[in-house]
């Protein structure tokens, strides 16, 4: 179990740094989404399933959708650039 936790924490660190360094905004949002998924698994391992459900639904689901919509609004997705 501890090995799994260390692997997940490593992924968490990689995601946190990569989301900052990524130049493509869409990639940054996707990395942030995977960060939330990993975080929800970690909440599950820490025995707080309430938080895990909320993190998966809000962090990985709704927040990412809102980020995508914002990117579309500011014309940063491919296909929405020239208007």
């Amino acid at each position: 179990m501890t090995i799994l936790e260390y692997i997940l924490l490593g992924f968490l660190l990689v995601c946190a740094v990569a989301a900052n360094l990524s130049k493509n905004l869409l990639n940054a949002v996707l990395i942030y989404m995977s960060y939330s998924v990993i975080m929800s698994i970690i909440w599950m391992l820490l025995q707080s399933p309430d938080l895990a459900i909320t993190e998966a639904a809000v962090g990985a689901g709704v927040t990412s959708v809102l980020f995508f919509l914002t990117l579309k609004k500011v014309h940063q997705l491919r296909g929405t650039r020239d208007e």
């Binding site: 399933p49 309430d50 459900i53 639904a57 689901g61 919509l69 914002t70």
Partner: protein, 301 residues
């Protein structure tokens, strides 16, 4: 323009013009700018370079200092799950030992946030409500903040959207949306029995609504969910919550005599007010999540 000029003399007129986003009429003409001195022939390249190098170094230093402070703080925190932590005091003991018989909720977290600390949860719901209200103030489209050009563009986008239906997305949504909505309702209704509760279940159901709206368009969703429903549901849920919990707050931790018994722990009709409060919070969160989506895409619910 004439109206603005006549209104701009009073303070109220200026304020309303500012709120509605009209440019404030300039009464005093700004003095003509003094003729600028002739530009230097060479831009200060050396100075700029030095500034950029300084900026980079300072950014790194700043980051390292902040990371160091945070790490030192984390290091000073007590270890996770130790028995002599300041967090494990008599409050936690009371919750764990007598939470089940006092609230009737098997899920002790729900018992805490919707019974012992229900007023805090009321604050959280109000925060969500305020957030969606401010997003509506900023992004809601009505005749005051749209012009003809923008209306035309939205109509054009709507035509394109209706023509290019995504078949794969729609097929998958037909299968997934009922499951997601059912799961959200299950999580809301079982908030006092199993992990979850109003907030998480509402977020799941809201995500289902978002999937439906993004695959079939919002016009189909308007058949059962319009702005009127949105306003009615959110305000009435918040009012029910405020009344039922304000009662017990102002009468000194007396519960509202609703006639709902604590019941047997484990049955779905148990634990008094927690189930109705869960449903209220769930509805508020569902509406809020969908409202954010609708505001960000179309600017109307």
């Amino acid at each position: 323009m004439n109206k603005i000029n006549s209104a701009s003399h009073t303070l109220w007129g200026r304020l309303s013009a500012w709120v509605e986003g009209d440019p404030l009429p300039r009464e005093k003409k700004a003095a003509a700018p003094a003729p600028s001195a002739p530009r230097e022939k060479k831009p200060p390249v050396k100075k700029m370079r030095r500034f950029i190098a300084f900026y980079r170094v300072m950014a790194v230093v700043f980051c390292v200092v902040i990371i160091g402070v945070l790490m030192a703080t984390v290091n000073a925190l007590p270890l996770f799950g130790r028995a002599d932590n300041p967090a494990s005091n008599e409050v936690v003991q009371r919750y764990v030992e007598s939470g089940l018989e006092e609230t009737g909720a098997v899920n002790i977290v729900a018992g805490m946030i919707l019974d012992y600390r229900a007023f805090d949860t009321f604050g959280e719901s109000s925060v969500l409500f305020l957030a969606v209200t401010s997003v509506m103030i900023l992004l809601l489209r009505d005749k005051n903040n749209t012009d003809r050009e923008e209306d035309l563009r939205t109509a054009r986008e709507l035509i394109v959207e209706n023509k290019s239906e995504d078949v794969i997305l729609q097929r998958i949504a037909v299968i997934l949306v009922p499951c997601i909505l059912l799961y959200g309702i299950y999580v809301i209704l079982n908030g006092h029995l199993s992990p979850g509760g109003g907030f998480s279940g509402g977020a799941i159901a809201g995500a289902g609504l978002i999937l439906y709206a993004s695959s079939f368009g919002m016009i189909r969703l308007h058949r059962f969910f319009s702005q009127k429903t949105f306003t009615a549901v959110t305000t009435s849920c918040l009012l029910v919550y405020a009344c039922s919990k304000g009662y017990s707050f102002f009468t000194g931790a007396n519960h509202l005599p609703t006639g709902i018994p604590l019941g047997t722990p484990g049955a779905i009709l148990s634990s008094g007010l927690i189930l109705p409060l869960d449903i209220c919070v769930g509805l508020i969160v569902t509406c809020t999540m969908y409202g954010f989506y609708a505001m960000f895409t179309k600017g109307e619910i």
